[in-house]
Symmetry: C2
Subunit: 328 residues, 2 copies
C-alpha cells in the first residue's frame, strides 16, 4: 500500500465520519463528476485477450486527441500510476528534481527505487538534476510552465543523458498548455491520464508519449496485454469524441468558476487549480474539512499545508446546493 | 512488444489467412469459451478510483476460491503477465531453472532482466538454482508436480534465500493440484490467473499468493490502483460463485474428453493438456494448422516442436461441428 496521501477513499472516510445518509459527495479527487458515457462494449473485449490491432487503434486515438504527431512513440498502461512506478527504472539512482509541491507519488516512487530526490520551487533550481519531473498544469495549484521553457529544458537534459518528465494529468482542460506536439524528441516523456477528464478513473488507463527509447522500455516492462479490453474500447470511443470533449471543457470551466465563487464567498482565498479542481486556503481549513466530512462531503487536505484544501467539482445543482449548505 | 509467441491474435491470423466468412473459431488459447456472465457493474466502479475496501473483498474472494488460508499474503494485478514481468526484480541476477518446455514468458522475462535462465526437464536438475519456476499443471503438456515435492522444494529454496514460483494459471480445472493452501510459507509464490477458467481474459486479473516479503514487494511495485474497478467487481462475483464454477468444471471436462476423441480420431496422438486445452502431435501438424487457418480455425503451434499443436475447447455444438468438418 502506498504511503502517499490520496483522495477518493470512501471507506476510510466512513471509518472516520460514518456513512452519510445522502451518500458521499466526493470532492476529494480531480475526476470529472460527469463521466463519459460508457459505450456498448462487445463481449469479445471481456472474453478475449486484448487485441493488438485494437491497442494500436487506441494509441492512434490518444495521439490524435492529445495533438501529438502520428508517429510519436506511445505506450498505454493500466493507469498512469503504474507508469509513475516504472519511471525510476529508466534512470536508476538518478539525481531527480521535482517541481513542487505537487502530486506525491512522483517523489515517493523515485525515492523508493533509490533515486536522490529534491523538491525544487523553480526550474532554475533544477540545473544539477539528471531527471526533472513536473506536473503541468500542476496539481494542486495549477501552476503552468510554458512549453518553450520545457522543450529547452528537455533538450538540455537530453544532451546530458537526462530526462524531463511532464505529467499532463489535467491538461485536457487547458490544451494549449500541453507539449504533446513535441513528443518524440529525445529526453522528453509526457504522461497523460485518461480517467480524470473523461471521469472514468476506475477503468485505469494512462499513456506515456515521448522519446522512443524510454517508451519502448516502458512497453517492454508492461508486457503484451497490460491494458484491459474494455478500457481499450472505451478509450477508442472517448478519445475520438471531440463533441463530448468540447462540451465537457465548457461545462467544467463554468462549474470551476462557480465553485471558486462559492468558496471565496465562503471566506476561502483562491490559490489556483485547474477546471477539474480548485485549491483554496483558509486559516480554519482543518475545522472546515471536518465539518464537511460530517456533512458527507469529502475534500482533499494537505498534511504539510494544513490551511489548504482542494475541492473537486460538485456534479450539477444538487452537488452545488449541498456544498453551499454545508459551507454556509 | 513481446518476442514470445502467443495465441489469440486474430488480426495476425487475418493478415495470413484472410477474414473467415463465418468469423474465427479461435482455439489458439486456453481460455474457457463460455465466459462467466459479466455481472451488473455499478457505474461508480468505472467512475471512481478503485476502492481499497472492494480490493480487500476481492482478495478475500480469491483466497477463498483458491483454498488459501484467510491470512495468506495476496496481491491482485491487472493480469498475471504483469506479475511475471515483475518477478525477476525479486531476485535480481539469479540463477533460474524453469521446468520446461512451458509458457514462454517466464524465461523471456527473467532473461530480459539479466537472470541466468536454464530450462530443465525435472526438478532434480534444478538443484543448483536460486529460483525455480514451473507451471502446474503445465502448459502445454499438462504435466503435474505433486504438492509434497513442491513444498519440500520451496522449503529447501527458502533455506538458501531462494524462491519457488508455481504458476497455477490452469489449476481451476484440477483443484487438487494446487498448493495455494500452503501459501504463506517462505520461499513459495503462487500465481493464479482469473481470465482463463472464467473465460474473461480481457478484463486482466491475476493474483500472487505466498511469502509475505515477496507479495509486499510486488504490491508496492504495482502501486495503489493497479486493478480496474470493473475487474474488481467481476472478480468478487465470479470467485464466490461456486455453482457456476462446479458447472464449468463439469462442462470443461466433458468437452475436453470430446475434443481429445475428435483429435485422436483425426489421426493426432494425444500428448496431454488440461481440461482447458489439449496438446496433440501429428507428423503433418504444419500442414494441418494451415488448412485449419484457411477454414477460419486458429490453433496454437510451437516453433521448436513443429509436430505439436495445441487446441483450446470449441464452444458448443457449432464449434465442434466446424472443427470436425475442417479436420475431416
Amino acid at each position: 500500500m502506498s504511503m502517499v496521501q490520496h483522495g477518493g477513499d470512501l471507506a476510510a472516510a466512513e471509518a472516520r465520519w460514518g456513512r452519510p445518509a445522502r451518500g458521499w459527495l466526493d470532492l476529494s479527487t480531480g475526476i470529472n463528476p460527469v463521466p463519459y458515457p460508457i459505450p456498448a462494449i462487445d463481449t469479445a473485449a471481456w472474453h478475449r485477450l486484448p487485441q493488438h490491432d485494437r491497442l494500436r487503434r487506441l494509441l492512434e486515438a490518444a495521439r490524435s486527441c492529445y495533438a501529438a504527431r502520428a508517429d510519436a512513440p506511445t505506450v498505454a498502461a493500466p493507469g498512469t500510476q503504474i507508469l509513475i512506478q516504472l519511471l525510476p527504472r529508466l534512470r536508476p539512482g538518478a539525481r531527480v528534481a521535482i517541481l513542487g509541491p505537487t502530486y506525491g507519488e512522483h517523489a515517493a516512487c523515485w525515492s523508493a527505487e533509490g533515486a536522490t530526490v529534491t523538491t525544487v520551487r523553480s526550474i532554475e533550481e533544477a540545473a544539477a538534476a539528471e531527471v526533472v519531473v513536473l506536473v503541468n498544469p500542476n496539481n494542486p495549484d495549477g501552476r503552468i510552465v510554458r512549453s518553450g521553457r520545457l522543450t529547452a529544458l528537455a533538450d538540455d537534459l537530453a544532451a546530458r543523458g537526462g530526462l524531463l518528465v511532464v505529467d499532463e494529468a489535467f491538461a485536457e482542460v487547458t490544451p494549449g498548455v500541453s507539449i504533446a506536439a513535441e513528443a518524440g524528441r529525445p529526453g522528453l516523456l509526457i504522461l497523460r491520464s485518461f480517467g480524470k477528464f473523461f471521469g472514468l478513473a476506475g477503468i485505469r488507463l494512462g499513456f506515456a508519449i515521448g522519446a522512443a527509447t524510454e517508451v519502448e522500455r516502458l512497453a517492454r516492462w508492461l508486457g503484451p496485454w497490460a491494458v484491459p479490453g474494455p478500457a481499450i474500447e472505451t478509450g477508442i470511443a472517448a478519445l475520438a469524441d471531440q463533441g463530448w470533449q468540447e462540451a465537457a471543457r465548457t461545462r467544467l470551466a463554468t462549474d470551476a468558476r462557480r465553485l471558486t465563487e462559492l468558496l471565496t464567498a465562503g471566506g476561502f482565498a483562491d490559490r489556483g487549480g485547474t477546471d477539474l479542481f480548485r485549491l483554496v486556503e483558509h486559516p480554519q481549513a482543518t475545522i472546515i474539512r471536518d465539518r464537511l466530512g460530517h456533512a458527507g462531503i469529502l475534500v482533499r487536505r494537505f498534511m504539510h499545508q494544513p490551511t489548504w484544501l482542494r475541492f473537486g467539482l460538485p456534479a450539477g445543482e444538487d452537488g452545488f446546493a449541498r456544498l453551499a449548505a454545508a459551507l454556509g
